[in-house]
Structure formats: structure tokens, C-alpha cells
């Protein structure tokens, strides 16, 4: 079953990337929705693995996505879905396999109806919107997007792992909010990367990052990292303020969102400290 988890992990990310590549509103929306469904499949399979007491991890292969037309990546997604469908015979949970298979049947059909588009997500033009940033601001934005898109993916995976292994309802609630927030950030940053022609799949997460030895330590470090992220957003907002006011406001918005994340992490920290003291 672990191989099914890996395959779903890969198709989830590839479909998300395809969503960034599409410029047609309806196609993009479909690809993002399907990507969300694959992420839910991922959590279902993970839950089945936990219930069955299987060892599993979030390792996967690198995912090549550099294409010139949308049909090429959609063809690859369909190929992956076929492979998952064949592997479902190894799924111990028949009801779960049936649900996933039913979704795959429809999604494969719907993907076939998405029109082709030329993809510009890899041209390295590094221009965002209509206003040209200075070389220095463009380089700073480029580094920020690579760092933070990975960081958001990493946070999704860590929070998802912690959520999957939590029994406390309040912690599950907190982790779900943090997952949703990180998804929002990942989608914003990924779209900017695609628009700038520098789209890349976040790299594979190391096991020791999500199989954390001390959740308290992870949350304490995480709060500091959020404070650093706030500072990066503040600097970036200042660097682009004169050339692109909308982008500057966006980074102020992300900066302020981190305050909420910090509060949620502090709340989770209290829950874990309470558990330790009980």
C-alpha cells in the first residue's frame, strides 16, 4: 500500500503543477480541484496505512514537469492514474480502493476534455505582470519563491503527518487550518513562479523533518521560522514597493497572515506541553 501512497503523492503534485501551467480559467480550476482530490486520496491511504499499522513515509521520485504544451503533462497524469488504478488491487481496503477508482475514472475522462495550451512556465523570462522589477528585486523575488514554495510544501507534509498521528481534536483542528493556509501560500507562490517562467516541483522532504522527535521543539523552531518569514516578506515588500505596489501589498498580506500561524502554533505548543505534563 505504501507504493500507492507514493504514486498518489506524485500525481497530486504533478496535477497541481499542471494547474499552474494552464492559463485558461476553467482548465486551471479543474486541475486545481483534481489536485485537491488527489491530496485527499493521499490522506485516506495514509490513514489506512496507520490503521493497519504499516510503516510508511513521504519519499517519492522527482517529477519531471518541463513541457511545452499542456497536453503532454495531462497525458502523463493520465498515465500515472492508469498505474494507480492497476495498483489498487494491492489495496487492503476494498471500499477505499472503490472510492479512489471511481474518482480516477471520472477524472481521467474529464482530463481528456481539457483543451491543449502552449506552456510558458519554464521560459525563465522572470517578468511578473506588466511592471518590470529591477534586476536586484527580481533576483530577491526569485530566491524567495524557490525557498518559500518548498517551505510551504514542507509545512503541508509536516502538519499532515502530525495531524494523521493526532487524536486530540483541537490539535487536528489547528493542523488542518495550518495545512489550508500553507496550501494557499503554495498556490500563490507556485502561480507566481509559473508566471515568471521558473516553475519547479518542491524537492522531496527528508523523513526526519516530519517524523519529528520532539513536536514541542518543532513548534518552537517553527514559530521562529515564521518570524523570519515575516521579516523576508517585509524586506521583499519594501524592495518592490516603488515598482509594483500590488506585489508589495501582497507581501504585506502574507506577512500579516504569519501572525495568525504563529498564534495557532503557540496554541498547539500549549496542547503538547499540557500532554507532556499530564
Amino acid at each position: 500500500m505504501n507504493s500507492i501512497l507514493v504514486m498518489i503523492h506524485e500525481v497530486w503534485l504533478e496535477t497541481l503543477m499542471a494547474g499552474f501551467m494552464s492559463s485558461e480559467h476553467l482548465s486551471k480550476q479543474k486541475l486545481f480541484d483534481f489536485s485537491n482530490i488527489f491530496f485527499r486520496h493521499f490522506t485516506w491511504v495514509e490513514n489506512a496505512l496507520i490503521k493497519a499499522n504499516y510503516e510508511y513515509d513521504y519519499n517519492r521520485s522527482t517529477i519531471p514537469i518541463k513541457v511545452e504544451s499542456l497536453q503532454v503533462i495531462i497525458g502523463d497524469i493520465k498515465r500515472r492514474l492508469n498505474a494507480i488504478e492497476l495498483s489498487l488491487v494491492n489495496c487492503d481496503d476494498d471500499a477505499l480502493a472503490g472510492r479512489i477508482q471511481s474518482d480516477i475514472n471520472y477524472i481521467s475522462f474529464a482530463l481528456s476534455n481539457i483543451a491543449d495550451e502552449k506552456v510558458n512556465s519554464f521560459d525563465m523570462g522572470r517578468v511578473l505582470g506588466e511592471s518590470q522589477l529591477s534586476d536586484e528585486a527580481t533576483d530577491a523575488l526569485t530566491m524567495f519563491l524557490f525557498e518559500e514554495s518548498y517551505k510551504e510544501y514542507e509545512l503541508i507534509m509536516i502538519y499532515n503527518y502530525l495531524k494523521a498521528h493526532s487524536k486530540e481534536q483541537n490539535l487536528i483542528r489547528i493542523f488542518q487550518i495550518l495545512i489550508d493556509e500553507s496550501f494557499y501560500h503554495l498556490k500563490q507562490f507556485g502561480q507566481m513562479m509559473s508566471d515568471m517562467g521558473i516553475l519547479g516541483v518542491p524537492r522531496i522532504i527528508s523523513k526526519e523533518l516530519y517524523q519529528v522527535e520532539s513536536v514541542v521543539q518543532f513548534l518552537e523552531n517553527g514559530i521562529n521560522e515564521e518570524l523570519n518569514a515575516k521579516e523576508e516578506c517585509r524586506k521583499l515588500s519594501g524592495a518592490v514597493a516603488n515598482e509594483n505596489a500590488a506585489l508589495s501589498k501582497f507581501f504585506d498580506f502574507i506577512n500579516n497572515q504569519e501572525n495568525y500561524h504563529i498564534e495557532l502554533m503557540k496554541e498547539a505548543l500549549q496542547e503538547y506541553k499540557k500532554e507532556i505534563n499530564e
Binding site: 519519499n59 518541463k66 525563465m124 526569485t142 521558473i198 527528508s206
Partner: protein, 145 residues
């Protein structure tokens, strides 16, 4: 920013775990917990395959992508020359970038040294080297250089 560097950031080369590797080695920053692990598959003293994984920033991933690309297919002697050349140029680049490159170079050296030790003792544990301001490899209590 150089387009070749952007290409490596979009698509880091040799990233991930190498299954059934001949050896592994870690380069570690003791100050912030960042680290790089390098996996090697070696045949007849030639690096047939190489991969790395990093807990660190994008600059570390970039350094890993560049250095492992250079080391792939080379002899162990040439790979050690590459480590030496990387460590030798650290004082000419900004400190944060120097730390990242040093971490990757030391991970490669650690993996080569692990391989050499495993020729004598196949169960020899993976070696870890810590980065230092002086750029001098230090061991992690596992082996003396």
C-alpha cells in the same frame, strides 16, 4: 542571476535517496542543524551514481546540484580534488554561501571516506563532518582524519 543557476533551482540534479548505495556521508552545520547527505554508488573507484538530500536552504540545494553533477562519473581521486577545490574557494564567496558549499563538499568527502572504510569493514557506519569557520573538516567522533 545566471540562467544556468535558475535551471538548477527549478530542477535540482541528483536529488533524493539512492537505493542500495555503496556509501553515504553527511556534512552538517552544527550551528543551525542544517545538513546534507550524499549517497554514492561506486564501481572500480568510479562514481557511477550519486544523489543528495538536504535539510537546508536553496543555496545548499544549488550547491548540491552543481557539485554532484560535477562528481558523477568521476574517479574518487578527481572527486576528492573537487572537494579540495570547493573548500579552497570558500574565502572568496559570502559566508552564508560558503557554509552551504562547504556542507556539500564535506558530505561528499564523508561519503568517499565511508566507502574507503567499508572496503576494510563492510559494516562501517556513515561518517559525518561538521562545517567550521576555518573550513577545516572536523569529525563527528566517528573517525579521525
Amino acid at each position: 542571476m545566471d540562467s544556468m543557476l535558475i535551471e538548477h533551482m527549478m530542477n535540482p540534479r541528483n536529488y533524493g535517496v539512492l537505493q542500495n548505495s555503496s556509501s553515504e556521508g553527511i556534512g552538517k552545520n552544527p550551528h543551525n542543524g542544517e545538513k546534507v547527505i550524499i549517497f554514492l554508488n561506486i564501481k572500480d573507484n568510479v562514481i557511477e551514481d550519486i544523489s543528495f538530500q538536504a535539510i537546508g536552504c536553496m543555496t545548499t540545494v544549488l550547491a548540491g546540484s552543481l557539485i554532484t553533477s560535477e562528481a558523477k562519473g568521476s574517479s574518487l581521486d578527481r572527486a576528492e580534488d573537487l572537494v579540495g577545490a570547493t573548500l579552497g574557494m570558500l574565502d572568496r564567496i559570502p559566508p552564508e554561501e560558503a557554509a552551504c558549499s562547504e556542507m556539500v563538499a564535506l558530505a561528499l568527502q564523508a561519503s568517499i571516506d565511508t566507502y574507503k572504510e567499508r572496503q576494510k569493514d563492510k559494516d562501517f557506519p556513515m561518517i559525518t563532518y561538521k562545517i567550521a569557520q576555518t573550513c577545516t573538516p572536523q569529525n563527528d567522533g566517528v573517525i579521525d582524519e
